[in-house]
Amino acid sequence: MFNKKPLCRSLAALSLGVAAGSTFAGPTLDAIKQRGTLVCGVHTGLTGFSAPDKSGKYAGIDVDYCKALAAAILGSPDKVKYVPLTAQQRFTALQSGEIDLLSRNTTWNSKRDTTMGSVFPGVWFYDGQAFVINSKKNPKVKKLADLNKASICVETGTTTERNMADYARANKLTFKPVVFEGQEATEKAFQSGRCDAYTTDSSGIAAMLVNLPNKGDYTVLPEIISKEPLAPMLRRNDQEFFAIARWMIYALQQAEESGVTQANVLRMKAESKDPAVQRLTGATAEVGKGLGLDAEWAVRALQAVGNYGESYERNIKPLGLVRGMNALWNKGGLMYPMPLD
């Protein structure tokens, strides 16, 4: 399928690389095709995003994105090598070329976008920092302002601590942070009554509450105090790979919008008269060609992981998290796939 192109492309890349004095193995996409595997940096264990499932295989919404890309580029969702990374390691692993892309609930912000030689193809999950309280112990607390002078359990080494301090300063509140090392220690401290509230990303709070035997005692406060647009992250040296990564996000979201699922994708491709579906599935238009892929690229991705909504159902729904901001634009959310045309 990709017989001649890689050669031309790597020659072009080589000359470019020599001119720019930067790359050694050529652009990321060529390296992926040559290797036959996509090397994906993931979280060491964050349920719903990327964590080993019961059989010890990585699963989660971030993992699904890697699988979809591998299916589109290499023809099989299994051609992924997962590299678990800690928060400290992740950017170096990307910069040094140890991984092809980072799909590890990383917040998209200007600093990371401009100073680290990297790019974000699009938002994969909207998260935000929230607070949870024990409403049995503190029945009067209904909003964040009621937590003035309260002690708050927070995990060390994350941005949550700073976000909380920023929010307190801006709103003239006082929070007493009680800092713990590690997610489970922070949760346990909060549950045993060490602090009045616990703060972390909404998804983290949901994960704590979902199977907690006495979860009726807890209430999540309505305020979300930070914006955490979680996005995949790539090196800046490969425009083609960037385009595929970006349009993969849109394709999976467009599939949800057009009602194309893992189960019906082949039938839709054959039967649907909807022009959006026909372009998505490669029945008519040349979306794949523009990306340097074949017409079936999105079909393979959908067969592998389903559309965005299905991946969300499978991975995030078990955490007990509602769709919220992550719903499609026409369902009251922020997910707005650019038209595939």
Binding site: A51, V83, Q88, N214
Partner: protein, 363 residues
Amino acid sequence: MNAPASSHRPFVARRLDWLRENLFSTPLNALITLVTLALLLWLGSRFVSWALLHAVWGRADVATCNALFGQGACWAVVADKWRHMLFGIYPQDEQWRSALAVVIFCGIMVFSAMRAFWHVWRLLALWLSGSLLCAWLLAGGLGLTPVPTALWGGLPITLMLAVFGTLFAFPLGILLALGRRSALPIIRAASIIYIELVRGVPLITVLFMASIMFALFLPEGVSFDKLLRAQVAIILFNAAYIAEIVRAGLQALPRGQYEAADALGLGYWQTQLLVILPQALKITIPAQVNSFIDNFKDTSLVIIVSIFDFLYAVRQAVISDLDWRHYFVEGYLFAMAVYWLFCYAMSHYSQWLEKHLSRDHRL
């Protein structure tokens, strides 16, 4: 200490004397004893009631545990997730290879501990064959399905980092110790700088260097295996400590030994290999075992460079499972028991060794 050791008095009377003298000698001491005892009893009974009496044993589903949440321990989490805890995310069909590797690593340690194996060639043969076998089992190839190192985890990783981390550090440590006592100024200076530099930084720093900084120095696309980098970092780190232990052994030898070797006309290497090192190493064995116990426990730090050692595998097994994620205390207690088993066996061994060696070998 100064208890009357009148051995013909009855046992109970002797115990009572001991109690009176050590625990109830003054009213204050008596009070402290009683308060401590009450505290221990209270904590102990609560622990026993939680960990044993009200606990859920064997295989059980989460609902059974949830019904007893906060009152009794849920050992069912260990029964359900033990494979993930011991072997991490190593492919389940291949986990027998991990298990076999654990057995071989333990075998290497046990056989090296036996005096019958204390000969250079036997030890070399044991270590080389054992290490190669384990590497083959874990990595695969030659008939076994290859498993990338990113999937290795659990107890085999902990044992591998500890055993290889000592094995390969040992020769390096001896060279450094000899170098530090060398008459050649450049070799001596280099050894001192290396040893003091490495001992001056924490293991975490070295691991960070190896895993994060090192990758930036290499050209893009070239990368060494992460596990290999961490293993090499641990080896280089341990070597500095082993060097200091060996140097202590070298200094403990009387000058007469060196002079006698000189008088026989032996050269530098002959002196070291035939006369000095065999004696020096022997007296440092207990210290080496201690340092091995240290290394064994230090390996849990590799999680900061996302290598899934045993401790992290336990955490991951529990935390990443939505059903069980509130029962991590039980998981950590299980990890504690396993660590304790290894460390206790080793420290017992080192005590036995000390006694044994002091009996048959005195300088």
